[in-house]
């Protein structure tokens, strides 16, 4: 299951490049390191979870520095990478506060971003040869 490329530590610059790819596209870091099964599961599960949050009329929080909790939520949202950027570009994630599923949607979006951050950390460890 583990590809030979993933078993040896990568050069420092490559490690950060792999982490950037892992952030940009969920699962891309694992796919790059030859862990195809994990990469595909992350790609499907995290993208679906994020999409589900948008479908539930959750909101992509803006970076409003006057409201620290909103900024924290925005940072968590940003953890999704390309799906977040694409949703922003297409005007999705406006959020409808009166929707009964609004808070559920926010939870799905925020947690998907946070889980992708964990996935990036896992990629970092693998690329460094620690796992």
């Amino acid at each position: 299951m583990r590809a030979a490329a993933a078993d040896r530590a990568q050069a420092a610059s490559t490690v950060y490049l792999i982490c950037a790819a892992a952030w940009l596209l969920p699962g891309a870091g694992h796919l790059w390191l030859g862990r195809r099964q994990k990469g595909l599961v992350f790609l499907v599960a995290l993208t679906l979870m994020f999409g589900f949050g948008l479908w539930l009329e959750g909101r992509l929080f803006p970076f409003e520095v006057t409201q620290p909790l909103i900024v924290l939520a925005a940072i968590a949202d940003l953890g999704m990478g390309a799906p977040y950027l694409a949703a922003k570009a297409f005007g999705a994630g406006a959020g409808r506060v009166v929707a009964i599923t609004y808070e559920y949607g926010n939870t799905f979006i925020i947690v998907a971003g946070l889980l992708n951050m964990l996935v990036v950390l896992d990629v970092f460890d693998i690329a460094k040869g620690r796992k």
């Binding site: 299951m1 583990r2 099964q37 599960a45 009964i100 599923t101 559920y104 939870t107 947690v111």
Partner: protein, 57 residues
């Protein structure tokens, strides 16, 4: 589908899958851990829901 319980089950499924795949390398181990976590999340959610039920607010 959009009931509280339904959404909690879907949320638990997503989180269990990601945690299990992150924590284990072998597919069989991932399935076992994922199923355990999923069951634990749903059970804890229902249990905490019932514990909160008598509260007046």
């Amino acid at each position: 589908m959009t009931s509280h319980l339904g959404l909690m089950v879907i949320f638990a499924a997503f989180v269990s899958v990601v945690f299990a795949v992150l924590s284990r390398d072998e597919p069989r181990d991932q399935m076992v851990l994922g199923a355990r976590m999923f069951g634990g999340f749903v059970f804890a959610g229902v249990l905490i829901g019932w514990l909160l039920y008598p509260l007046p607010f």
